[in-house]
Symmetry: C2
Subunit: 412 residues, 2 copies
Amino acid sequence: MRNIVVQKYGGSSVANTGRIQDVARRIVKFKRLGYKMVVVVSALGGTTDKLIELSRQITKYPSEREMDMLVSTGEQISVSLLAMAIHKLGEEAISFTGSQVGIRTDSSHTKARIIDVNATKILKELEKNRIVIVAGFQGVSLKQEITTLGRGGSDVTAVALAKSLNASVCEIYTDVDGIYTADPRIVKNARKLDKISYEEMLELASLGAQVMQPRSIEIAGRFKIPLHVRSSFNDKKGTVISEEVKMMEKVVVSGVTVNKNEAKITICDVPDKPGAAAHIFKVLADKNINIDMIIQNISRTGATDVSFTVNRDDLLKTIRTAKEISDKIGAEGVTSDDDIAKVSVVGIGMKTHAGVAAKMFTALAGKKINIGMISTSEIKISCVISRKKAQDAVKALHKAFNLSKKAIVKER
Amino acid sequence: MRNIVVQKYGGSSVANTGRIQDVARRIVKFKRLGYKMVVVVSALGGTTDKLIELSRQITKYPSEREMDMLVSTGEQISVSLLAMAIHKLGEEAISFTGSQVGIRTDSSHTKARIIDVNATKILKELEKNRIVIVAGFQGVSLKQEITTLGRGGSDVTAVALAKSLNASVCEIYTDVDGIYTADPRIVKNARKLDKISYEEMLELASLGAQVMQPRSIEIAGRFKIPLHVRSSFNDKKGTVISEEVKMMEKVVVSGVTVNKNEAKITICDVPDKPGAAAHIFKVLADKNINIDMIIQNISRTGATDVSFTVNRDDLLKTIRTAKEISDKIGAEGVTSDDDIAKVSVVGIGMKTHAGVAAKMFTALAGKKINIGMISTSEIKISCVISRKKAQDAVKALHKAFNLSKKAIVKER
């Protein structure tokens, strides 16, 4: 089928019934331009948090299977309301849960991965000239259990659908105008990027730009699905995420990001035996805990501290697990610190340009900001710093790399 | 499997997370006494109304399919929270939506009827020694659409499950201690009934006793499933609903009820041709509108008024439909009145005892209450009166039939 557009609307775009009606008008406008519309919707802004709060009133450690039953209701509410709003505008629309529409996942509750998407049902509804509305963030396991895809999972749903339906574009509607060189709330003269590559976006997202879910960008990149990140509050063009384009090669650093959603955990005095680290991270992986940075200090005394960062949501679970590991392997105990932030600079070509790291560390030092952990990749450098220094760090880095100007000339 | 108990908890029994934890404790107590527990839960008190209000903010005439998508989330929230609360008490529990557990219905959205229940999944979980928690009020159609069973549908779910699982009892937990001879909020000396027959309960329920859903009592009666209506706020014995027992034959009137949920609609000056009434009620039935009382005045002029009552929820839809019918058949138009109440006296043996109707009309006349419509059955007499006279009527009737005393002696 031709001309299929997948649109995804986040929680702030459907925060209340007024916003839902705005979104309905936008969808109907696209439909009347001749597009086949498939729309993925998140829960009404705040709903998921309210549901999580209910579970917290009952238990600190809810079953993940039951959490998925609980929070998946959020999207079911928004899709049905959006369908009603579209009906009112005189177009046919039908809403589906992830389960109904065949978004099949593995059984990792609260963090499920999509196995495949059965596009047949959607295509059949599109043939009937209907707008198809799909609950984001959720799927169904082979055992017919409701699963959810983790934070930002609605983006994953949208991209997976765009792939399965061979859509011409996947538009991600949000409450910002696009991707900026830094958070505009922190850096006043941050600049909106017209285009960005999947790789850069991936680093920006996983580092806390909080506009798109990293897994969704991975999938989009793998299948070359053009993404368009734009605002549901206006009609401005946003940022197109696609394959690397020529201009980008000339830019070294394309953005600065900060992530305040991580916490640091240290297992102290781990006996320095082969396989100790492997054991630690295998147990954590078995518990489905995603690790970000890892640092192991050099051992002088036959024991060593192993530090790593995890998402703050996983902190309690991780501490419990780390304590069990510590006891098992004869370490001295576990400490944790959630008063941290991770600042990063991102850019393609960074690796082939000397001095980016030096410039970053100098800029932080100039603001008397201590660096706790460092990690690097092909296209980013990240530093863990004190949480309260996060804003100063971002501002300093944005300035040091001159990001408020379109940098067509090579840096340094 | 032996010793299966089905318990149903209504919205007030799970009004908040504190109440959910109370309910969990009660369920676990039963479980530890050796019962196999299957629990049906309604939405948290007030949730369904909040969801309906959201839909109203968007449209007056929501698609019924989408309404089912929307409101079915209420029970999904409560079952998952209840499962968490039971886990916390150290027992295994698993929650299911109506769809997951195989409550198959027809496709009449918002008023679906159960076709059958696939008990296999539940029995399998019970064998694993788990408490099974099922979302009330909802099912799944053959097209895999989510359906709901209409007001009080959770009772229907509970009774249907009790039947399919061959349960030894179906307990209906609510916020009252049992079935009373009249609403204790209206009649101070109303008396709790220890036992009542399905037939009497059926009339009491369908007439607005609002404790149990009529369809659930029909099913229970058809399959002789003992029901026990009791409070989730204490451990008192409630009212057992079972086959007619000897004592009951001696009682003429067992209760007085009032229903304020109906509205009256009149199609004026309907041409007095054969098939006119048939046409009217066929069209209404096709729209899935349930009619309660019907009155057609005698025609002197070749045209006649047809009046009937419907549930107030269906009022807008019914007026629209009635207007279409009126245009089609050349009637003069449609009037409606939702300022009405229906009071009824109910009792087995009423038919074989003269004077019950006369006593009822006399009692109402004594309070200067006009009677609008009258309908009678084997075991009840109902009168439509002005809404504001409803309480007076109930008090007068309760007194006239001497219901505050256990009436073992025959009423006149």
